[in-house]
Amino acid sequence: MQHAFKLGEAEHNVALSRAREAYCLHVGDSLVPIDLKTSPDGRTWLTVGTRHVEVVIATRGDEVFVHLDGEAHALRYRHPLERLAAQAGGGANDLIRAPMPGSIVSVNVKAGDTVSKGQTLLVMESMKMETTLVAPRDGAVAEVQYEKGQTFERDAILLKLEAAAGEGA
């Protein structure tokens, strides 16, 4: 089965299968034997092909954090269903998330409003700088989650879109 991880802005398709005592990673055209083992002293070792390297891994929900070669990286597992929904024109595109922590300066739309791509949905402030969030596509406002003055963390869902009335799903 195909799975995917988001790393930064890019999405990477992968598949995993069993191979003898360990696993095989399928990425693009390549196939690599991989394994992850914890040694008695609690350290975690990753094997990728012929490479054997210590890693630290932490997970939370769909997020996987990996410390590798002296750097931390964050990956997000994409559920196959979520990806299908996104490909159908809805899904993640419908959730307007906060690009950084901050507070709401103004909300320019209300639930039920029809919006067109590029239209200002709300204005937020972070580090004394204002940022305008615009509609990524045509649609209607399903829900507004925050009001003026409220604060939020990064990735908080600020607003939800849905298909405009009369528009096919």
Binding site: L16, R18, A58, V64, A72, P99, R154
Partner: protein, 497 residues
Amino acid sequence: MTDVSRWPFSTVLVANRGEIAVRVLRTVQKLGLKGAVVFHAADRNAPAVRMADHAIEITGSTPVAAYLDGAQILAAAKSCGAGAIHPGYGFLSENTGFARAVESAGLVFIGPKPEQIELMGDKVRARNFVEKGGFPVAPSAIEDDGPATFVERSRTVGTPLLIKPSAGGGGKGMRIVRDLSVLEAEIERARSEGQRYFGDGRLYCERYIENPRHIEVQVLGDSHGNVVHVFERECSVQRRFQKIVEETPSPALTPELRAQICETAAGIARSAGYRGAGTVEFIFGPSGEFYFLEMNTRLQVEHPVTEEITGKDLVLEQLRIAAGEPLGYAQGDVSAQGHAIEFRIYAEDPGRGYTPTTGPILALRPPQGDGIRWDSGVVQGGEVTAAFDPMIAKLIVRGTNRNDAIARAEKALAETVLLGCKTNTAFLRRLVVHPAFVAGDVHTGFLDANPQIAADPPMPNGTLQALLAAASLSTRPMRDAADCVPDLHAAIGEWRN
């Protein structure tokens, strides 16, 4: 060991949070004094709260507001029998009104006299005071000296010049003018920014030093009139006028210049009758000229580098001075050895314009080893929120010389594991091996001039593959799906590919 039995206080309340609260409590408790701390509910599980002998909850409309509420903090001090208050840095540390209120309540304020905070807190007054004492200040024009002639006098300062709000700080509202034809327009813009940020539109102009270094000098003064300097720190690596890396000794100073700048700082502190730990900041030009910038009347974030090369515990010195003890040593007794560099670990994304990040701290493994110091206020299981400043820890490395310290730093930064919230450690690693940094050839505009250091470098294929492998094996639905397919099928899959 210091004898605290005759000190006028036996319990010290720390009116701060995070790493500095832990840092101050460490020395307080080592001396055999009791340490108390105030905390907002957002910090309930913070290390300082667990470490303190008394922890008193304070409230506020925002978490920051709680730590700025002097009346509540004073009440907390009384409730736990604290005889002294250490303000740390930020928050109320340079608030004259708070220092006065502490003293009027009969408690000891661990810091300078209120009038010294007041003098140095007003940039214009401080600058005039320093200039009158015969110490170097940059050519300037001050609006308050005659608002009607301000623009005219600004022209005579010469270009490039810098316009600053008198009440300012942190780089807000500052504007550089290279062409006098836009001077008036820029003055108006700076005024409106000063009004917006500080509620005060008064300005001053000074000659702008291109590619300057930021060099500051640590001073200590007791209540008996003794003042010494504890050498310099260079803090030229900055982003948005905020320090990121600080080191001592400065790679820019010859022994002669070092003596000159350190003596100047001690002289300024002496002329103010300064009591406590303070820092005199200078702007240092490419040809070795230096001018007084400002004096910070508190313990600095970057104080550990000074401690690492001099062996002095600056918090201990602050406590001794507050207790009325004389310094007990002369300038000639203060010596330094080796090189120390501090890195501020920020919850931020350098590749996205240093925007702050938030998140849970799912894994935390500080670096360890000889010459490595980790001052932090966060623990695994904690959370970084947008409620406070994004600095979550400080990594301090010490080496026999600068190259040794840099090598140690690169290794320690790589060994620093913090998962769940993006930090700037990878960026700091790129910075510390950058040829200009290694050569000590930096200035306060260095990061702006070299944005590629902040940008995420392209990821090697091998790294991407390893990350996908680690993530796949750590994702339950993927592992489960793979485990339920027998090896034979997987092998068929192999042929298909």
